[in-house]
Subunit: 206 residues, 2 copies
């Protein structure tokens, strides 16, 4: 593609570095910005730099935050005795959207993946163990919910965390794996179906 303006070509190159955006889409976005009010492009650019330079990570749970402690960790209504361990920030948003969890979070920043060279020391595991081991704090941790992906890497990480947390006398649970709500048995893969039978729960009509 031969863009007759170096300025636009530079912008297209930068925009197309974003994941899932190719040269054609980048050009469409650049030309869209050209048609808009200059204030729009200005606001977009400013919000990107401000975000990148000023966003902080919560010192407790490693979530994104505007201050040293995030809005979930500093919320007195949230139950600090239950910590849900997730892979990254999107997972927190996904769980928050369910409105089913009132505890706090801990973000690992990834999962153990020997193939990608990610070992336990690359993740926020020590700070999790530290949170759990603080027995004389106001809110001692009673339960850790492992909410990691149902992949080999996620399972490996769950297994590692389970071992690490064993000595700390804390209940460790994992989110249920089974057939999705609305899913039909017939079309569920055998591994999922097998697991859903193995990890069956008591059914009560009361």
């Amino acid at each position: 593609m031969n863009i007759p303006s170096k300025l636009i070509e530079d912008a297209v190159t930068e925009i197309s570095r974003l994941p899932g955006i190719g040269k054609k889409t980048a050009l469409r976005l650049a030309l869209h910005l050209l048609k808009q009010n200059p204030a729009h492009a200005e606001a977009l650019a400013l919000s990107i730099t401000t975000m990148r330079n000023e966003v902080q990570y919560c010192q407790t749970c490693h979530n994104i935050s505007d201050g040293p402690i995030c809005s979930i960790c500093s919320n007195p209504k949230r139950d600090g005795s239950i910590i849900c361990v997730v892979e990254d920030i999107q997972d927190v948003l996904a769980i928050e959207n369910t409105n089913q969890f009132q505890g706090k979070y801990h973000i690992l920043g990834g999962v153990i993946s020997p193939l990608q060279g990610i070992g336990p020391e690359e993740l926020h595991i020590e700070s999790l163990v530290e949170r759990v081991s603080k027995k004389n704090s106001d809110e001692p941790v009673k339960e850790i919910i492992l909410a990691l992906s149902a992949t080999m890497e996620g399972d490996t990480t769950s297994f590692y965390l389970g071992k690490r947390l064993k000595e700390h006398n804390v209940k460790v649970s994992t989110i249920a794996r089974g057939i999705p709500v609305g899913g039909e048995l017939e079309y569920t893969d055998e591994v999922t179906l097998g697991r859903s039978i193995m990890t069956r729960v008591n059914y009560s009509t009361e």
Copy 2:
């Protein structure tokens, strides 16, 4: 979606104003930028503002340009006696990619669309007529190729331009409409097929 950082929320709002990008994609892009080197976000923001503030439009053909005259209009190898009239900048890039056209362009900036309140005076039609009427210039215009979309608006615009250019003693042609290369007759819609029969061209094996 309840993003725990105002800074990221602002960035997501701005990014999701771009066409074809929703809140979820915008969040994914914002979190991607957070994981990258700060220089990356800086370069992206700078390229957007620089582009928006410094890009110019060619005074002759209204194409995007880094100076008052674009690289196509100022290229002495291009044939200024043939002008291809297109709707917008992307169309110029599309035709340039074919390597089939060595003339110059004229960008209307849209097509006549009464429903959207776009009349002939909103488009760069006067400057086109002016280019055509300059008979004593170095390179008098001999042919105008109308390369507008095969839609009702495009056809209306072509019709209007045909009428306006009639008195200027210039050949006016339009790009061929017919079945696409690689297209099968069976699956071509009847309007296209009908047109391709009406506007059939001489077939020569020489």
